[in-house]
């Protein structure tokens, strides 16, 4: 008998809670509460019974939403004099679509919505060179005066990022000590040499700013969550997931919380990897269709692409290892509108959780994709979200009628549904092409509450091998949090051309990183169970960007020296980009060490065999799918067994999702209960 495992994924609309007890998966969905995010988590934990849980793994969009909506604490930022506007300028990159738009503003710039207002960004008289030598010593009196001004302005936290501190952190260390004197101990401060001593000051600065903001957002939240879980009888370990869905004990997570900002989408990729391993399919395109957007992740041979940073908004960077997730504004809540030229459009605006789609009856008047699905007959007005929300078809119809265009209501609904699918298909194709991959070699994994009802049509568009709807698709990301390990990481930047004589330097760098990590973690008896993974971010000589996370095999490094690293770099470069330049030398930029402690994971259980031809529980009329109305049989997912086959058109319903199988498709139930949809032979 295994231990009881809990996971929770806090989204904008719902908080998904999953429990695995004795190998069985139990789930519940609780409406999210933006004002008190922890309450739905506690409610879900109480519903399922958290008393005997050994672990409680947590992912949340709380911090991400705070940045996107700028509901942020007031913080100060200190940097080398003359550089405070780097937070305004970013990398000076415009989006491709706005290259010639004179009115475009950087979304986090001073003319738009800055994270830190300009007067709270202060210059410090000091300068360290790229070699680490001190050109101008730290002017402590001037620095103290600037900090005193920030104190009088009532800042709640402080970010410190000085030029070239990744080479020599002495001035940042002195400023940190000064800040402790001025603001007092316990005041939230993040210094870039601690957050991540990486080259390139803008990304380092934006990461440090985000880090201190997340300290202010997550610290209280995590303490309250932990204490209330304890009050509910939980006696296990509370862990937070990072941007690759790796687990971190919560106290470590809130000490460097920029790492947990983007955990939810990464958890979806982890879930795909776990299920893919169980069913023997490693080439997957995960499509998490939520209320606001569709997140697309590509996995090749069971591994998602890992990047060394991610963008919250255009050019708003956070330096941390993160699963590559592309997002397109097409979800259940995406608003259907008419452009000035008369085109029907879907998204990127979303009705969100409040007011939500018109059919929720919460004040929304604009039509959405969910309204279209209701009018098409795909959704059951009485069975949505396990009966927690009753859908109003009349309100959905009125919302579509309110659009100012000449199309009939039937055309509006049908085209909205098709446009949403085309938007998702376009993003899937773009993701595959970016890596030189062919969608015909991949299976689509449809999850998120809206995925199973939208992606059958996408399968036709992208010509993927098949569409897989996992068990519990509406909570699949939360399930992913039970498919990962503890990962402790350390990294630093040091530019080094990989030449035959650089072997000893490589050993020294990795050795130092490992020693720091062991000292910090104090693993004790657990040290034997730890797997150590070395990697580096490198680039071809002349490039200004890096290919991250090149694996370093210690045995190959010992046997072949730096040549082993360059070969691995070229192989990874080819895997990511579909092209290789093996004749060009490689320069390493950032060095990484990870210590991985394996945890107990969800083991997918085999589903008993079915009869082959299951019996429908009823039938439903599908409208606007084709020129004529279609009568589709409805099946209960819980009643299906492995090997059962269903020909489209058909609907498979479960408490928190509805799977649509369109005509000319056939669904077969797989070994662990996954629905596998393919083109009919």
């Amino acid at each position: 008998m295994g231990r009881t495992l809990f996971s929770v994924d806090v989204g904008g609309t719902f908080t998904d809670v999953v429990m695995v007890r004795d190998g069985d998966i139990h789930v519940t969905k609780v409406p999210s509460n933006a004002a008190a995010t922890h309450l739905p988590v506690i409610e879900g934990a109480r519903r399922l019974g958290v008393q005997d849980a050994a672990v409680f793994n947590h992912a949340s969009t709380k911090g991400l939403n705070a940045v996107l909506t700028r509901s942020l604490p007031k913080i100060g930022f200190v940097t080398t004099q003359g550089h405070r506007d780097m937070l305004d300028a970013g990398r000076c990159m415009r989006p491709m679509d706005n290259q010639t738009d004179a009115r475009w503003h950087r979304p986090f710039g001073d003319a738009a919505r800055p994270l830190v207002r300009r007067y709270l960004r202060r210059g410090i008289h000091e300068r360290i060179l790229a070699t680490g030598a001190v050109l101008i010593g730290l002017d402590e009196a001037q620095a103290r005066a600037e900090l005193e001004i920030l104190k009088r302005c009532g800042i709640q936290g402080l970010a410190i990022c000085l030029i070239n501190s990744f080479v020599n952190p002495a001035h940042e260390q002195a400023l940190l000590a000064l800040a402790r004197e001025v603001f007092g101990p316990g005041f939230p401060v993040s210094a870039s040499f601690q957050v991540g001593p990486r080259a390139k000051e803008y990304a380092r600065a934006s990461t440090t700013v985000i880090d201190v903001m997340m300290k202010l957002i997550y610290d209280d939240y995590a303490h309250v969550l932990d204490s209330q879980l304890r009050a509910a009888g939980f006696a296990g370990n509370l862990n937070f997931a990072d941007c690759t869905a790796a687990l971190i004990p919560w106290r470590d997570a809130v000490s460097a919380p920029h790492r947990i900002l983007f955990a939810g989408p990464a958890a979806g990729a982890a879930a795909c990897r776990g299920l893919g391993a169980a069913i023997g399919d490693g080439n997957l395109i995960g499509c998490d269709v939520g209320g606001t957007s569709t997140d697309v992740t590509v996995l090749v041979n069971g591994a998602p692409f890992i990047n060394d940073s991610f963008e919250i908004e255009h050019d708003l960077l956070v330096n941390t290892l993160s699963t590559e997730v592309a997002s397109v504004g097409a979800g259940g809540g995406s608003i259907v509108s008419v452009s000035p030229s008369g085109d029907l459009r879907v998204g990127p605006q979303s009705a969100g959780a409040t007011p939500g789609p018109a059919c929720y009856g919460r004040g929304g008047t604009r039509p959405t994709v969910t309204d279209a699905c209701l009018l098409m007959g795909i959704l059951d007005p009485d069975g949505f979200a396990d009966g927690q929300i009753r859908l109003d078809a009349a309100a959905a119809g009125a919302a579509f009628d309110s659009l100012e265009c000449r199309m009939s209501q039937a055309e509006r609904v049908r085209f909205a549904w098709k446009i949403a699918q085309n938007n998702i298909a376009e993003e899937i194709s773009r993701c595959a092409l970016r890596h030189g991959l062919d969608t015909r070699d991949f299976s689509l994994m449809a999850f998120g509450a809206a995925g199973p009802m939208l992606l059958a049509g996408v399968l036709e568009l992208v010509k993927a091998r098949r569409l897989i709807v996992p068990p519990h698709p509406g909570l699949f990301s939360a399930i992913g949090l039970l498919s990962t390990d503890f990962v402790y990481a350390n990294s630093r930047s040091q530019y080094l051309m990989l030449m035959p004589d650089t072997g000893p330097q490589l050993e020294a760098i990795f050795g130092a990183l490992e020693a720091q990590l062991r000292e910090r973690l104090n693993l004790g008896d657990a040290a034997a169970e730890v797997t150590i993974r070395r990697s580096f971010d490198g680039r071809l000589a002349g490039q200004s960007w890096e290919t991250p996370f090149i694996n370093v095999d210690p045995a190959a490094l010992k046997a072949r020296g730096p040549a082993a690293l360059t070969d691995e770099f070229h192989a990874e470069y080819a895997r990511r980009n579909g092209v290789s330049f093996a004749q060009i030398p490689v320069q390493a930029v950032t060095w990484r060490v990870q210590m991985i402690v394996a945890t107990e994971k969800l083991a997918w259980r085999a589903l008993p065999a079915g009869t082959g031809k299951p019996t429908p529980i009823g039938q439903r009329t599908l409208r606007h799918l084709d020129a004529e109305e279609i009568t589709a049989p409805v099946y209960q997912r819980a009643a299906l067994g492995a090997g059962d086959t269903i020909a489209g058109p058909a609907l498979i319903i479960e408490p928190l999702a509805t799977t649509l199988i369109i005509p000319r498709q056939v669904a077969r139930i797989g070994t662990v209960g996954e629905i596998v949809i393919t083109e009919a032979p």
Partner: protein, 72 residues
Amino acid sequence: MHNFPRPTTATVSSARTPVPGTCPECGAESLARYRVMSEGGWWLVVKCGQCLHSVSREPGPLLGAFVPLGAP
């Protein structure tokens, strides 16, 4: 060809007119009105000399200090 004189000061600066009152952010009594060039063109601002918080900000002369020869 124009022949401008060399500047006689180490740095150039805009004349600042003191404004009575205290900064709502840091409480310092060092408000001043002056012209700044920022995104969107020239602005007439009232800023705190200590913390640089902008107390007010309104559009300034289109060309800043430059006065065209044909201007009235």
